[in-house]
Every structure is written in structure tokens, then in C-alpha cells.
């Protein structure tokens, strides 16, 4: 018996290793599209852009090595760079937290036993499926100072609305308001999450005499925290790269008040043909986003509740 099993094991072993090798080869062949894509469109570009960022490069002539000059100019000579940093930080600081709270709030409202729930969900989600170019054009008209929808609505309640996109003080708030119009994109994710919370948790809490507020604070929030956290991170990264609205609606104006980081990067690259300078900007942006993401992880991740024994990997 024992001899037979040893014999069988000896026979099996080489077959297993051959199969193992084959399986490894097959596996890498299957994921090869991603490997090629990653190397060609992410890894190589990132590395080569470090080199570009140390050169003066207008595309027509070969890059010319200038050391850290681009970075020096960015930090010490280019006032516009600081303006774009401020504008972007302003936009992120308001649109991300407000969008998160508002989207979550709508999801909470929708998660109650409400008639025609799919209809309301559709209504709130529509802005998220509208092409950004179409919503930008629509909002130019909504924000038009004299005949636009927003100022007409404000006039109804006796408020003389500002010039919005024509006013340096109101252009950023205008774009933030527009971003809040699209909170449905996050809402639908929260809603799916809320519906995944086991009902027994609430029932058990009710047995223990918990009121709605307790249930919300001790069940809903912890159970939703991974989803909220994920959306916070993705929201920060995406808002830092706001481009289309500013490009289409204001071109960065008035007086650079909506000149966001990526818009300025884009102008340097494709309007002024300063590829080296734009590459330096890209790397600075990468570092900024990395640091902020890591900080967010450090501060918030310990508070995020991951269900014990949840299926992973």
C-alpha cells in the first residue's frame, strides 16, 4: 500500500510540474494584453517623462538637457503655477466633501421605503451619464448672468445673482455647484452598499433598544465606511485633474480664477509646446496626489471598518 502510493507520487510529480509550468505560461499569456499595455502606456511613459522634465523640449527639435531648471521655474518664477495650485485646492476642498455628503444623503433617502424608488434613482443618476462636454455647454447657459436658469431662479426669491462664470470671485463656486449636480454618480454606489447591509443588524440593534440615530451611527456608517473611503480617494484624485469644464466653460478665466492644474499643464504642453515644463508639472502633480492619498489613508483608513472574515483575494 505504502509502496504503491510512493510510486504513484513519483509518477505524479513530474506531470504536476509540467502542468504547473504550462499553467504559468498560459496565465501570463492571458494577462499579456495588460502587461504590454502597462509597460507601453504607463511604465515607459512615466519613466521617460522624468527625463523630459529635465529638458527643454518643443517636440520639433530633440529634447535639450537643462537639469532642474523646469522645477526651479515652477516653484520660484511661475506665479501662475501657484495660482493653479490654489484654484485646484479650493475646488477639491469644496467639491469632494460636499459631493460625498450630498451623494450619501440622497442614497440614504432613496434607501427608505419610498414609492417609485427606481424612478428617483434614475433622475439623480442622469447627470452622471451625460457627456461632460454636453453638461458643460448646458451649464454655460444655466449660469448665464442675465438670462440663465440659475439667476432667474434666484430672482424669483429676490436675489440678484452674481455673474458666475464672468466673475473671478464666483467662477469657482459656480463650477463647484455644477459638480454637485452630478452627485448621482456616487449615490448609486452608496445605494448598492446600503442595500447590502444585512437587515439582521438593524433588527438586533432594535432589540437592544437602539433608536434611528444609534443605528445610523453604529451600523450604517461603519458598514458603509469602506465604500465612502474608496469614493473619497477616487474623488480626490479625479477632482485634482479637473479639466474639461474649465477648458470648455471658462478657458481658465476670468483672470485665471478657474485656471486649474491640469488645464495649465495642458496649455503648456499643447499650446505653448513646452513638453519638458509640462512633464515637470505632471510629476509635481503625481507627488502631490500621492502625498494626499497617503495622508488620507493614514488618517482615515484606521477608522474604516472591514467586516471580519469578508471574502478577499
Amino acid at each position: 500500500m505504502a509502496a504503491m502510493s510512493a510510486d504513484a507520487a513519483r509518477k505524479r510529480r513530474p506531470r504536476i510540474t509540467r502542468r504547473r509550468v504550462m499553467e504559468n505560461v498560459t496565465g501570463y499569456l492571458f494577462i499579456s494584453p495588460w502587461i504590454v499595455g502597462f509597460l507601453v502606456f504607463t511604465a515607459y511613459p512615466m519613466l521617460i517623462s522624468i527625463y523630459y522634465s529635465l529638458t527643454s523640449y518643443n517636440v520639433l527639435r530633440p529634447p535639450e538637457w537643462i537639469g532642474l531648471e523646469n522645477y526651479h521655474e515652477l516653484f520660484f518664477e511661475d506665479d501662475r503655477f501657484l495660482t493653479t495650485l490654489f484654484n485646484t485646492a479650493y475646488y477639491v476642498a469644496f467639491s469632494v466633501p460636499l459631493g460625498l455628503v450630498l451623494g450619501f444623503l440622497v442614497a440614504l433617502l432613496l434607501n427608505q421605503k419610498i414609492p417609485f424608488m427606481p424612478f428617483w434613482r434614475t433622475v439623480y443618476y442622469l447627470p452622471a451619464v451625460t457627456p461632460i462636454i454636453a453638461s458643460s455647454v448646458l451649464w454655460i447657459w444655466v449660469l448665464e448672468p442675465n438670462f440663465g436658469l440659475l439667476n432667474r431662479a434666484l430672482a424669483l426669491v429676490g436675489i440678484d445673482g452674481p455673474g458666475w462664470l464672468t466673475s473671478p470671485a464666483w467662477s469657482k463656486p459656480a463650477l463647484i455647484i455644477m459638480s454637485l449636480w452630478g452627485v448621482g454618480g456616487g449615490m448609486i454606489i452608496y445605494l448598492a452598499g446600503l442595500q447590502g447591509i444585512p437587515q439582521q443588524l438593524y433588527e438586533a440593534a432594535a432589540v437592544d433598544g437602539a433608536n434611528s440615530w444609534h443605528k445610523f451611527w453604529h451600523i450604517t456608517i461603519p458598514m458603509m465606511s469602506p465604500v465612502l473611503f474608496f469614493n473619497l480617494i477616487i474623488g480626490i484624485i479625479a477632482s485634482f485633474q479637473t479639466f474639461t469644464q474649465a477648458y470648455v466653460m471658462t478657458g481658465g478665466g476670468p483672470v485665471d480664477s478657474t485656471m486649474f492644474y491640469v488645464l495649465y499643464l495642458w496649455l503648456n504642453a499643447f499650446d505653448y509646446f513646452r513638453m519638458g515644463y509640462a512633464s515637470a508639472m505632471a510629476w509635481v502633480l503625481f507627488i502631490i496626489i500621492l502625498v494626499i492619498t497617503l495622508l488620507t489613508f493614514r488618517v482615515i483608513a484606521p477608522r474604516v471598518y472591514y467586516e471580519f472574515g469578508s471574502e478577499r483575494g
Partner: protein, 290 residues
């Protein structure tokens, strides 16, 4: 016994009293008001686009009579049919690429055991957080060096190389829910892994495939910055670029402008209304386990 009755009581209370409280009606009211605010710009768009030219700046948002003149004007001012054809062409090839390659890669990560699979998959996921703006310039230079500016290649090729971590993740998650016995028996019958993927896994994954097909179609259709960077020949323009050109040339002709925006947005809104459950499904598949 006492415990049981207590439990019954409290359950009954939470089921009947709570949802019908004042708070419930207040919540509903807030929800409806919010929905009105969200819909108002859409209504504004449609109403403006259907107004006669001399009424666009009128205080009354409702036109005296409805006219499609603005839509006709939009077509004559800008070659929208060409743009629509271009957008459609790119979106279909983009979608085909994403569906094919992201499911290949997703299957690899879901079912084939290869060395370093788990860390590599986590790495794929972490690239989701990479800001796209960082590779904007160097990728442009790559395409320029290949002399492929003003072609559709830069907009299509990345879709055929996995299409991005989101789609790979979604397909992998779905493949993992399919029981393994089917593959086992096919393998015993001598089917290759590629055949198993194509003839067994893909047909079983229709819901997930539909979801990524819709998402990727939409991604391509809505893309603005890609075409903006790579296309300068007007005859190659996509709809978003055409609309952008329209804005810069006819910036205050609100009627035709709104008609044009409506035409760009309309297909996506219809697609969403028709395929809503696939959107929700895609979110359930990815959003929750992230």
C-alpha cells in the same frame, strides 16, 4: 418567552411606526425637491432647444410654439452626421477591444494559477489610482514619434490592451462566481484554456460582458480630452469635439447650441434608461468588494 414577545414587539414597532413617521414624509419631500433641482437644467435644455429663435431670451421658459428649427440649424452649422459616424466607429472598436482583452486578462487573474498572481492583481488595482494626467504628455510624444497623430489609433489601441484596471477587475470578479466544475469537465474533454474562456466562460458571463460593453462604449463616446489631443482634422472629429468647436464658433446662439448638446447627450441617456440594470450590476460587482 418574555424575550420572544419583547422581540416581536420591537420588530413590529420598527416595521410599522418608524417608516410612517413625520421624518419619513419630510425625507420624501426633500427627495422630490432634490429631484426637481437635478431635472431643472435638463428641462431648461430641452425647452430652450425647442424655442423659436426670438424667444430664447424671453422670461417665460415655455415656448409659444415648439419648433425643431434649432436642431436643423445645428445640422447645417456643423457636420454633425460625420461627427456621429466618427464617434460611433471609435466607440464600437473601443468597446470590442475592452470586451475581448479585459475578459482575457480577467479570466487569467480569476482562474489560472500562475506565479505572482495575487500581488500582480493588487498591483493592477493600485494603478486605478494613478492620475491619468501624468502620462498625458509622454504618451502623446510616443504617438507623435510613430506619426499617428490625426488618426484613431491612439484612441483605440489602449482598449485592446486590457482596457484599464476597472474592466479587468469587474470581469475577474464575475468569473470567480462561476462554478469550476464546468471548466473541469471541459478540460477532461481536452478543451484548451482559450476555448474554455471563449466557449464556456464568455457565454456564461453575458451580464458582466454587457455591463463592460456599455461602460466602455460610454467611456469612448463621452471622452473629450483624448480626441482633443490627438485629432485636429475636422473631418475626423468626434461629437464632443464637434460640440466644442460649435461653442467656440457660435458661443451665444443658445437655441442651436442646446439642440446640439441634447443630440450629444441623448444617446447616452437612452442607453442608460434601456440598460439600467447593467449599470447597477456593474456597481454591485465592483463597488462593494473594493
Amino acid at each position: 418567552m418574555a424575550v420572544i414577545t419583547l422581540r416581536r414587539k420591537s420588530r413590529a414597532r420598527s416595521a410599522t411606526v418608524e417608516p410612517r413617521g413625520l421624518g419619513h414624509y419630510l425625507a420624501f419631500l426633500v427627495l422630490v425637491l432634490g429631484a426637481l433641482v437635478v431635472m431643472a437644467p435638463f428641462a431648461w435644455l430641452i425647452l430652450t432647444s425647442l424655442k423659436p429663435e426670438n424667444e430664447v431670451l424671453n422670461l417665460n421658459p415655455i415656448p409659444s410654439h415648439f419648433t425643431f428649427q434649432n436642431y436643423k440649424d445645428a445640422f447645417t452649422l456643423v457636420p454633425f452626421l460625420t461627427f456621429t459616424r466618427n464617434s460611433l466607429f471609435i466607440a464600437i472598436i473601443h468597446m470590442a477591444g475592452v470586451v475581448t482583452t479585459s475578459s482575457l486578462v480577467g479570466y487569467g487573474f480569476a482562474r489560472i494559477r500562475f506565479w505572482g498572481r495575487e500581488p500582480l492583481f493588487i498591483f493592477v488595482l493600485s494603478t486605478m489610482m494613478l492620475p491619468g494626467a501624468v502620462t498625458l504628455v509622454p504618451v502623446f510624444i510616443i504617438w507623435r514619434n510613430f506619426n499617428l497623430i490625426d488618426t484613431y489609433w491612439p484612441l483605440i489601441v489602449p482598449a485592446w490592451l486590457g482596457g484599464g484596471p476597472f474592466y479587468i477587475f469587474l470581469m475577474r470578479q464575475f468569473f470567480r462566481t462561476i462554478p469550476g466544475e464546468l471548466e473541469e469537465s471541459a478540460r477532461i474533454d481536452g478543451a484548451s484554456t482559450l476555448r474554455i474562456w471563449w466557449q464556456i466562460m464568455m457565454p456564461l458571463s453575458k451580464p458582466a460582458v454587457t455591463t463592460i460593453a456599455i461602460f466602455s462604449f460610454m467611456e469612448s463616446w463621452n471622452d473629450f480630452i483624448g480626441p482633443l489631443i490627438y485629432l485636429s482634422d475636422t473631418s475626423l472629429f468626434t461629437l464632443p469635439l464637434g460640440l466644442n468647436q460649435f461653442v467656440s464658433q457660435h458661443g451665444t446662439e443658445w437655441g442651436p447650441l442646446m439642440a446640439a448638446s441634447a443630440m450629444v447627450a441623448f444617446p447616452m441617456i437612452v442607453l442608460f434608461l434601456v440598460a439600467q440594470r447593467y449599470f447597477v450590476q456593474g456597481i454591485v460587482l465592483t463597488g462593494l468588494k473594493g
